[in-house]
Amino acid sequence: EDEERISSADVAVVEARRRLLNEFYAWRAAQEEELDEERAVLGLPEDPVAELLEKTKPAEAAADGGAKE
């Protein structure tokens, strides 16, 4: 009987975790979709930094000094 009680407590804990995990990932998925839509409406690139990195690349190759110690 004790064992049963313990295992039903375990099941409850696992169930609660499953619910929390699903809730969080459902929220994330909705959030990501909303963010993509907002970016599209504003005419912004999907990755705000990819384009910037392209722009700074040539400059980086030229100045490969390193901060002075």
Binding site: V14, R17, R18, L52, T56, D64, A67, E69
Partner: protein
């Protein structure tokens, strides 16, 4: 987890930041010097010298081109990451406690200290991510914190909001363009100051750390508290780990602040919690004083902590860290794998 000890600062660490690629670590300290280190081996690449007071805060733009720092010498300075040259200095009436670039590096916010005759403010500067460019002297925006001074602040996704954490434990959401206050919500215990605010990768949610011994996961859009992590010591810093659903908390009471009834002296550990389940998972020892700052490598490979003891400790996660999953997480992974097959 093999830690690397970075001994280069002579006084307490105040903030640590990784660059976007995760290969560089920038650290600032009360010793008035900014250091940059290679994260993989802890080799010091260089220093940035010029501040005349304790440096409270540091940030690097997403392309790792320019660095911004804020100091007790009442300035924000902009630096060329590669050469160590100071590109620009902005003067303020009081110390600068926090700086942060927005997601594309075109705006920088600064949190200024409150002092007799001066309200605490959040200023916004327009930035050109170009070491050759002339930077504007003018502030694009000044938000005055009339209720309670801001202690930390940051930019949300799309630079839509400026989110601030305050001395009174509340969190504010301001319009990122106009600076108008949208709402201010009591989040942490009243008058227990918010000591840190760090973002998720897409900046749709963030974590706050507070002297009230808790850290909270909060949405940028509604300031809804998603999760609360309860610690047994005042917290100075909190970070969200990419790749794994964990958060890292740092804090601890300095010996001088420990009363005889509190027996927590000497426990200076980074604490790992599960981001979604809120359980504490483990602790990492090492520092000889409170942890003032923790930072997560954006590539998910490790984390760094900076202590009151003057050390930066860099940890690279090992296999056990990546393998650790709850049964329900494994279930989910298996389900996703089956779905993709």
């Amino acid at each position: 987890m093999r830690p690397i000890l970075l001994a280069g600062h002579e006084r307490a660490l105040t903030q640590i930041r990784y660059n976007r690629e995760g290969d560089l670590i920038f650290s600032v300290s009360k010793d008035q010097i900014i250091c940059v280190w290679f994260s993989h081996n802890g080799e010091r690449l260089g220093t940035y010298r010029g501040h005349q007071g304790a440096i409270w805060t540091i940030d690097v733009d997403p392309t790792s081109t320019i660095l911004a720092s804020g100091s007790a010498d009442n300035t924000i300075r902009l630096w060329d990451v590669k050469t160590g040259k100071c590109l620009k200095t902005w003067d303020f009436p009081t110390a600068v406690k926090r700086v942060e670039f927005n997601e594309d590096g075109t705006k920088l916010l600064g949190v200024t200290e409150k002092r007799m005759g001066h309200m605490g403010t959040i200023v916004v500067l327009d930035i050109k991510v170009d070491v050759e460019a002339e930077q504007s002297d003018e502030k694009a925006l000044t938000i005055v914190c009339e209720e309670s001074k801001a202690t930390v602040a940051g930019w949300s996704y799309l630079s839509k909001y400026i989110i601030a954490g305050h001395e009174d434990g509340s969190v504010s959401q301001y319009d990122g363009k106009t600076g108008d206050l949208i709402f201010n919500i009591p989040i942490h215990e009243l008058n227990q100051q918010i000591t840190d605010l760090q973002w998720s990768q897409d900046r749709t949610y963030f974590i706050t750390a507070s002297k009230d011994k808790t850290a909270k996961l909060i949405t940028a859009k509604d300031l809804e508290v998603l999760k609360t992590y309860v610690a047994d010591t005042p917290l100075n810093s909190a970070a969200i780990t990419p790749k794994k659903d964990f958060v890292i908390l740092g804090g601890g009471q300095a010996a001088m602040d420990v009363t005889t009834t509190s027996a927590r002296q000497g426990k200076f550990e980074a604490r790992f919690y599960h981001k979604i389940f809120e359980d504490e998972i483990g602790r990492v020892r090492g520092h000889f004083g409170p942890l003032n700052t923790v930072a997560a490598d954006p590539t998910g490979k490790g984390y760094a902590s900076g202590g009151e003891d003057g050390y930066v400790r860099v940890h690279h996660f090992d296999k056990g860290y990546f393998d650790f999953v709850y049964e329900v997480e494994r279930e989910r992974q298996n389900r996703l794998a089956a779905g993709n097959a």
